[in-house]
Symmetry: C2
Subunit: 315 residues, 2 copies
């Protein structure tokens, strides 16, 4: 019998579906602090943050780590590799909710929803919304992979011109044109929206600086939906305080959770999204779909796994 430990809670109807589909598997829903469960688990399904070297030391039967998230940067990858543990993740399932979050924030700003909600709180009828349109804008998407290209597709549907930006300048889907990281300063003065969905790599840490924000339009919207180390926060704060741009929508931060005294909370023109842009009621069902496929392969000793991580490459 295969023992599978989930270190996060799962809704009852999804548990029932799992047990019906895999009668030969023993599922335990607990935490990585449950030493008994940890000891006997052949498979651990986790969001990843609870997997330390100490956890691995206790998980004596562990052969497969199923990470129900996309980022691996906080995991002890070399220790996992040393123990020859098979690793899969759920890369790809963030595409729809993250894209919808980006579009929601952009349209909300353009169509003055923050103003409107505030008016409603005060029972105040006014038509001075100052609303504008997304239509006809130009957007720069930094890091147009699967998520960035999906954002590009929907921006184009709204009549937005899309410029992709990556290291090589190599074509990405749904971009009207492409530039390299080196060309950022030439293009920033011409765009209305700057969206980063970059992961954290040695090349992307600190890629943007205060000077880039000085180059942007005064009514530009900056969105960081990648990683918080893209720009030093003190530089971003300075740029916003000086009104170099009009809006910063931030889903990621240098330190999370954001301290309750952090200036972002109260700054004019800042929208704090508490790293929830990929969250969705569909998240766990979609992650379990990948897991169920892989669990069948696992039980039947198949090889057709989805989202296998190459630990030496780190993705």
């Amino acid at each position: 019998m295969t023992n599978v430990l989930f270190t996060f809670p799962v809704k009852e109807y999804l548990i029932e579906e799992l047990q019906t589909e895999f009668p030969e598997v023993k599922f335990t829903f607990s935490s990585s602090k449950d030493q008994d469960a940890l000891k006997s688990a052949e498979v651990i399904v986790t969001y990843g943050e609870d997997i330390s070297v100490a956890t691995l030391d206790q998980a004596l039967a562990l052969k497969w780590l199923m990470i129900a998230s996309a980022g691996l940067e906080k995991m002890p990858l070399s220790e996992i590799l040393k123990r020859n543990i098979f690793v899969t993740n759920v890369k790809g399932i963030h595409k729809t909710p993250m894209t919808e979050s980006v579009m929601a924030h952009l349209l909300a700003i353009k169509r003055a929803l923050p103003w409107m909600y505030k008016q409603q709180e005060n029972s105040e009828w006014s038509k001075r919304s100052g609303s504008t349109e997304l239509f006809g804008s130009t957007a720069l998407i930094i890091g147009p992979g699967a998520i960035g290209s999906e954002i590009g597709r929907l921006l184009q549907a709204f009549g937005v011109t899309t410029i992709g930006c990556n290291r090589s300048g190599k074509n990405a889907a749904n971009m009207n044109s492409m530039i390299t990281f080196d060309q950022l300063s030439d293009v920033l003065p011409k765009v209305d929206i700057v969206i980063s969905v970059l992961p954290s790599t040695p090349e992307t840490i600190g890629l943007l600086t205060y000077d880039h924000f000085v180059l942007m339009k005064e009514d530009a919207i900056f969105m960081n939906f990648g990683r918080g180390d893209l720009i030093k926060e003190e530089q971003l704060i300075q740029a916003i305080q000086e009104r170099q741009i009009s809006y910063a929508v931030l889903d990621v931060f240098e330190n999370e959770p954001l301290d309750e005294n952090h200036p972002f909370w109260k700054m004019e023109g800042v929208i704090v999204s508490p790293h929830v842009s990929s969250h969705s009621s569909e998240y766990v069902p979609r992650a379990l779909k990948i897991f169920r496929h892989n669990l069948h392969e696992w039980i039947e000793a198949g090889t057709n796994f989805q989202n296998v991580i190459d630990l030496e490459k780190g993705y």
Copy 2:
């Protein structure tokens, strides 16, 4: 020299553009209460609400009324017809801002932006957004004309199934299927989103009733972006209070402006949009584009006018 009276304010750069393009025209920017301007105006450019029979009686030189809006229902059409005044409007220019407003509200609700803004006010980091997705939903669009079809196009881009609803059931663009008004009750239990963009006509007044809301899903979103007389407000209020649906996003009301004591302001699940869904910083420039085309025709005694109103038909 042709005298043109604008009864609403226009930004300075647009005035300069007009004067440069039409040196032979005398433009006056005032109001319909300006008796001198009214008396000599051959052309009046107005949002329409200030045109009464008394205004017409004073506008002795008036030959062309340019209405910078789409609705004509409050205008004294038979009196205008009697005086043989030429009428044009700007039908069509609401499509982009209204569609963006509809998409903004839907995505904001699905991606939990009202919750997020509230968290930020309280400097409170939480991930319990309860966010869901637009993807995979089904939307019913009641009155799929130019605006409704544009909404359908963008909904489909987000992976939403669209059902159009009109009197005849005749095909409309960007709808996966069509139904007639008579089939509403059959379809309402199956849809996640109900959007009306219907104008006010004898057939649409009171088209929806409390009973229709009982048929809808508990988590349905209802959006009225057409006219406030689509449903009696007391019936809509009852349906919302009973949580027959989860959200009502209302851009139009029985009486506007909404009284500050109206229950809608404070009701859970109601978003009050103060009839601004078609507003946009691009509105006047876009209206003037139509006007400038028509003014050239007018001066040169041409016939190729845009958006001419047939007063006998009323549209």
